[in-house]
Symmetry: C2
Subunit: 435 residues, 2 copies
Amino acid sequence: MALKLDKNLYGFVTEQELCSMQGAVDDAVNKIKNKTGAGSEYLGWVDLPVTYDREEFERIKTAAEEIKKCDVFIVIGIGGSYLGARAAIEFIKSPLYNTLKKDTPDIYFAGNNISTSALNELLEICEGKDICINVISKSGKTTEPAIAFRIFRKYLIDKYGEAEANKRIYVTTDKAKGALKTLASKKENGYESFVVPDDIGGRYSVLSAVGLLPIAVAGIDIDAIMNGALQARNDLYCGPSDNDCYRYAAIRNILYNKNKVIEILASYDSALIMTAEWWKQLFGESEGKDGKGIFPASVTFTTDLHSLGQIIQAGKRNIFETVIFIKDSDKDIFIENDADDLDELNYISKQYLSLHDINKCAFRATVMAHVSGGVPNILFELDSRDAANFGYMVYFFELACAVSGYMLGVNPFDQPGVEEYKNNMFELLGKNKNK
Amino acid sequence: MALKLDKNLYGFVTEQELCSMQGAVDDAVNKIKNKTGAGSEYLGWVDLPVTYDREEFERIKTAAEEIKKCDVFIVIGIGGSYLGARAAIEFIKSPLYNTLKKDTPDIYFAGNNISTSALNELLEICEGKDICINVISKSGKTTEPAIAFRIFRKYLIDKYGEAEANKRIYVTTDKAKGALKTLASKKENGYESFVVPDDIGGRYSVLSAVGLLPIAVAGIDIDAIMNGALQARNDLYCGPSDNDCYRYAAIRNILYNKNKVIEILASYDSALIMTAEWWKQLFGESEGKDGKGIFPASVTFTTDLHSLGQIIQAGKRNIFETVIFIKDSDKDIFIENDADDLDELNYISKQYLSLHDINKCAFRATVMAHVSGGVPNILFELDSRDAANFGYMVYFFELACAVSGYMLGVNPFDQPGVEEYKNNMFELLGKNKNK
């Protein structure tokens, strides 16, 4: 089990360039190890796979078992309180999780937008179903989840009465203060509560209760996720200073300095679409500041070879690709021989060539094509789409992102630019006008 | 009903700059009107809303009524044979179309990837369900849809026997030749067939049978779509030469020349996610060639304000946004007063402020924030998410894309870069080796 960084960047980045970056890498890593960099109060994710709260971890599992008895589980959260859990469920289970037969609840994500139709549809889906909710918000005052929680809390009270509703509301929030904490702690409510750690920012929080409760409800082994993350910590953070994670951070910065200003995360399975969305927040929000930052985009191949493939192959040469390929596959499918062979597929209807082998060929063919078109390709192989590999990948990218951000000269843990639209919105809506 | 281009680009593009582009706009438009530009053999989409085949159109409706009797409808196609129909269904119906209660079939898209798990899951979903399929491929030999069709055709034959399976297979392909046409025309098969027009490329084909059959099966009024497109043609192609569509094409090129190399299509509803994917293919594949082209990306707000919002607000200033906001909304939702007001939402719990009004405020607040952060914003308002508005929007962007591509100096109708990975793949897989 490992994210393996293919060194072959085909001349876009030389081994010598990479070597010359080692000092900058070491500086960045030392800022993390010694907590001397900007935003060092948010480094809780570094030791999380070792230090996580075992008592809370067991309560998460107990809560998940209780929640599994319901039909529909609504997870209310935005940004880091949304993307990580959804990424995990789609990666490990399926992007069609809700549609497939299973013995765990349907899981819907709410409170991550202000769309009227999205909320109406979700209320329609809940009709006649047995519901539990998990609201995730550090302050309890973020507009989108606060609106959704006010609506779904009332919905539960109307449906079940106050006492029963209280048992169906699970809160993930600040350990001590804030609107949600106050509400949860009220004697008459007594919501089961979990903690958004003080020293872990939203986009680094998937391995805390923020992500783990919804992930556990989907029937995923959260011990395996934490073990995967722990192995990544051992291999990378505790490993040699020229490991693949740090090399990835260095290569990104080398390419950025060569005016490769767009990084496309590519995969070969739609199960990774939300992982890419999680990755886009992680890198975009960590590095996109002070007029700097690689713009993170994503594609799913071979689907998007028939869409963005053209511009990747032959457009402006300001992009590079980071490709994740999953080595193992699901139950193999083979293509049967056809007497007529009008579609000319018989050449791949061989019992030793599975559909996954063909996908692998498409992957290799695409790397060759894009590299020859002038697009640097960074290749990662992941063994499988299991929980341990997910945990490993999460830790790998979190650490790479922190190192890369420090190398870029930014604070990888703040997000000052997110406030501006909020302030304008409060102004337009007249918040605090009557105070 | 109109896509309205807000002229206010807040100083990034002056009215004078726009005026100075009018000659280039007129040249591009004339290449379309006189069919003198590169790729002019693919201009069939221009007159399609006027000239479309009425006999086939009625057959599409009849076929859709027949298909509606089944439980699950599998649409096999890739690129332009996939994105347009899915965009329409999610835009007009819902991104949760398959999950919501309805009197039309569940619709799944296959043959747009080589993922083993995606195909296994789809076969699992089909178990015990009544199935029809539509395979869409001009040649019938494109690897991804050909594989899926071989598998689903056999699945249908095994399930229903050959005679009944033949009635459940709907083919959209070349009018005269190719693997699928040959198969469909065989006397013993006699599949109902529709035409991929010779003079319309994949990414411009959603208003032909390629898109219309799946769209009609979802219970959408395809007459209204064509009427919307017709109105767009009247307003734009037959309209004044400084109309919003051509201004959009001009503004994009002005911004590109100012090194705004990334265009982000932003919306405020997840119902537009697949519309953005369709738009990304349209513009990316049309313009991304000869070392040129704006890189098309997309976001859904307010969701992604808590993800890519930071880098848009404060990252490298090489991006601009094109924002679509839908004026009308679904059944209004209002936020009720709460005695405690711990979440401090009471200030918006007013009967005159609906959730949609709040979304509108978020939209205006975000435009202000991003513009003040140095990101040009092109604003479109669409009246509603109905079929007519969808048809209008499709025609608007198709025409804008063709004009913009000619202004950029490329052939907006070819996609030579898509061949390279295919050739490599055939090589790796050993195609034609034994011939």
